[in-house]
């Protein structure tokens, strides 16, 4: 393996700080609206569906499937796999698939969350389950 890639530290803000605090404990949080019941990601204080402010943090299982991906071959820091994955809880999100044989990735493949360090809070990525 090449040496560990350096990732930028999240800037964070008052709305999202609890997500990053949880990330430091290895927990991957999503938001759920208690008014309409819908989960969402990335986290907002006001539900993007029903616009209720009754949103709460919820720990995700971190289990997901690959919705789509692309292997970026032209990169100064080496090839990487960008993807959208769909969490078991419902929301889809953008990520990289890491620590894997990139040529064997496929749509529908099961993946799980893994955190990578930065100079600040760790960042969530996904890796084959």
């Amino acid at each position: 393996m090449a040496e560990a890639k350096k990732y930028p530290a999240p800037v964070t803000n008052p709305e999202t700080a609890p997500f990053w605090e949880a990330a430091k404990q290895g927990k991957f949080l999503i938001k759920r609206c208690t008014a309409c019941g819908e989960p969402h990601y990335f986290p907002r204080s006001i539900c993007p569906f029903c616009f209720s402010d009754k949103t709460v943090w919820e720990e995700s299982s971190g289990e997901a499937t690959i919705y789509t991906f692309s292997l970026m071959r032209k990169s100064a820091t080496g090839p990487y796999a960008i993807a959208f994955v769909t969490l078991k809880e419902g929301p889809s999100l953008q990520t990289n698939i890491v620590d894997c044989d990139m040529d064997k990735l496929r749509i529908g493949q099961k993946v799980k969350v893994v955190f990578k360090p930065t100079d600040g809070a760790p960042l969530p990525f996904f890796t084959p389950a």
Binding site: Y7, P8, P10, V11, T12, N13, T16, W20, E38, P39, H40, Y41, F42, R44, C47, P48, F49, Y67, T68, F69, S70, L71, M72, R73, K74, S75, Y80, I82, A83, F84, T86, L87, G90, P91, S92, L93, Q94, T95, N96, I107, T118, L123
Partner: protein, 382 residues
């Protein structure tokens, strides 16, 4: 209320340059403005509305001052590459409402000479920026899912580039003028799976401009009459991760709005300018606009169906972004310009569509695979 027939495109200009290290970005804006004003047969003093997007250095007020304009209506809506299609719709709205009578729209910049300023980030930045989404891989993800869901192939995508190259051979300003084959496209290096180098548009310096005006003023000028009869705009994103579906674009909403306002259908269209940042962009938008059913875009674009004089739907007869020009990584302006050339009967004779009286210019801006805008303009020769 409708904008149907209330605004005419009286002047167009595409900068002939594709590489301009010896010019400033503001200067390129001025050069394309001058070109469009002269094409319309007007003077700068006639301009009373100005439209620009994120490529204009500093935005609207420095540009208005630099160009020496005195305007009573401004609009700097920024939706990436389709900004200029949205500006055309908004200019028609402003003209219909009497807010201005002669609008100038400009686009210019120099990504070939040097990197563009970083795109402004949104609330998603901490949750996405680290993953390295670029145009190549965001559109690559769209193509990957389209292939998975519908069996679309690289060969089918390649036909889009082949058609563009057939047109570009007649454009002396086109950056890439060589006619290419499906095999050439498939043999070009992989950039971001499944998109290869020849699935990607060119990166060019340059720009373009247009003049939009009232029916009365347009008829007083000595130019063929081209008017806007329908316009639609829309946006699409993953919306909290619930709506992620990368097999269609916001064109599924902007298209029907434009066609309904115009009172025509895709089957009536004689010529189509379709945003071509990548081959997959064209394929998805053709489906979204209703030129074929969802999932059948691959079949629709194959066997030269987009080549003027050969297929059923001549597209991007200037060579488009895939071969000719994609100034400032923003293709919306040149999409309108080539549609106007077709409607005026001023396209290259080898690619001019006979009796071209109805055209569509359509584009998207932002990242099709992440979040983006779309705009559809239906244009008619009077």
């Amino acid at each position: 209320m409708t904008i149907k027939g209330k605004a005419y495109i009286a002047g167009i200009y595409e900068h002939p340059t594709r590489h301009a290290p010896d010019k400033s970005t503001a200067q390129l804006h001025a050069e394309v403005a001058k070109g469009a004003i002269e094409d319309a047969g007007l003077t700068k003093a006639d301009i009373d509305g100005y439209f620009c997007a994120g490529d204009a250095p500093g935005g609207a007020w420095p540009m208005v001052d630099y160009l020496g304009l005195k305007v009573r209506h401004i609009d700097s809506t920024e939706t990436g590459g389709c900004s200029y299609l949205i500006h055309l719709g908004h200019a028609a709205e402003a003209i219909a409402a009497g807010k201005c009578s002669i609008a100038l729209l400009t686009l210019a910049g120099k990504p070939r000479t040097g990197p563009l300023p970083a795109r402004a980030t949104g609330a998603e930045v901490d949750f996405e920026a680290a993953y390295g989404a670029t145009t190549h891989n965001a559109y690559g993800m769209c193509a990957m899912r389209h292939m998975h869901d519908y069996g679309t192939t690289s060969e089918q995508l390649a036909w889009i580039k082949v058609a563009a190259s057939h047109h570009a051979q007649y454009n002396p300003h086109a950056m890439l003028r060589d006619v290419v084959t499906v095999e050439d496209v498939l043999n070009s290096p992989m950039i971001s799976d499944p998109l290869r180098r020849m699935d990607c548009c060119v990166v060019t310096d340059g720009g373009g401009a247009m003049i939009v005006t009232t029916p009365e003023i347009a008829k007083s000028l000595k130019k063929p009459l081209v008017r806007l009869i329908g316009h639609g705009e829309a946006m699409k994103g993953p919306r909290g991760g619930k709506d992620l579906d990368l097999t269609y674009s916001a064109g599924v909403w902007s298209g029907p709005r434009a066609f309904e306002e115009a009172g025509v259908t895709p089957q009536d269209i004689k010529y189509a300018s379709i945003y071509d940042s990548f081959t997959i962009t064209v394929l998805m938008q053709l489906e979204d606009l209703g030129f074929c059913k969802k999932g059948e875009g691959g079949k629709f674009v194959s066997d030269g169906n987009l080549i003027s004089g050969v297929g059923k739907l001549p597209f991007n007869t200037d060579g488009g972004g895939l071969c000719s020009n994609h100034p400032v990584n923003r293709g919306g302006m040149t999409k309108v310009i080539e549609a106007v050339r077709q409607l005026r009967g001023q396209a290259h004779p080898k690619v001019q569509v006979p009796n071209c009286d109805l055209a569509v210019a359509h584009g998207t801006g932002g990242l099709l695979g992440v979040r983006h805008a779309a705009s559809t303009c239906i244009l008619e020769r009077v």
